[in-house]
Symmetry: C2
DNA sequence: ATCGTATATCGCCGATATACGATGGATACC
DNA sequence: GGTATCCATCGTATATCGGCGATATACGAT
């Protein structure tokens, strides 16, 4: 079983890793708040976020970095201010993935397919 | 701003904390895998999971505990074997919450309005 | 050139997460 | 009784996280 069906397993594994990584980026209240704020204001710089959260600038910068590295937030190094904005496509894709996984975990009255 | 709208802020804050906590429970590949397995087999004991993941029994037990504490998995101390099963209501509720939040964050595909 | 602002990064720490083996309790089976 | 199995928990080691202050960098304004 370790020998044959490795392709699918590997792929599933990667998917899980990828999803887990993105969920990890969302698993902190501050980052959820930042994401919501970014969505509300379209795009903003680091200081805007600092002014809204009760966190040091360095901490906010870290959280923003985590969000950017997760791919859910896009970063444009504007001249002086930075520009952070939600990556709608990424977020939408994640929403679908999460929805799919969770739905397959809770619904599925009877005969189901699973991935 | 600190004086008036505290109720909503507190509530939002709690919601965020709660969601972040549940997402944290899902932010590990092993736990995602466990959740999927639990969904597939309806319910199972710890050893079943151990046999399927390449992890020590104690580690699996820990992951199961995290899932149970998050509320997404229910635990019934059967006589000898433990019984773990997905809590469909909880998972469904989380799916809705996540979907709501992410959808409100990703620009809403075809220009509909948020909540 | 100097100052002020905005930002990222570094160094540090306490806290938490992850993994394992070992232990002991409970239950089943002989 | 004795033995095997299942499981949770403890102890331990390591890695990562989350937060902050301090510092470096970049740039506009004076």
């Amino acid at each position: 079983m370790d020998t044959v069906s490795n392709h699918e397993n590997m792929q599933q594994c990667r998917d899980r890793d990828a999803m887990a990584a993105k969920l990890a980026a969302l698993s902190h209240p501050a980052r959820l708040k930042i994401l919501q704020h970014l969505a509300e204001v379209e795009a903003c710089c680091c200081k805007d976020v600092v002014d809204r959260l009760h966190l040091a600038q360095s901490t906010v910068s870290q959280h923003l970095k985590v969000l950017v590295e997760s791919g859910l937030v896009r970063f444009t190094p504007d001249n002086r201010r930075s520009r952070y904005e939600v990556d709608g496509d990424e977020v939408r894709a994640l929403a679908e993935s999460v929805n799919g996984l969770l739905t397959s975990c809770c619904g599925l009255p009877a005969g189901e397919d699973a991935d």
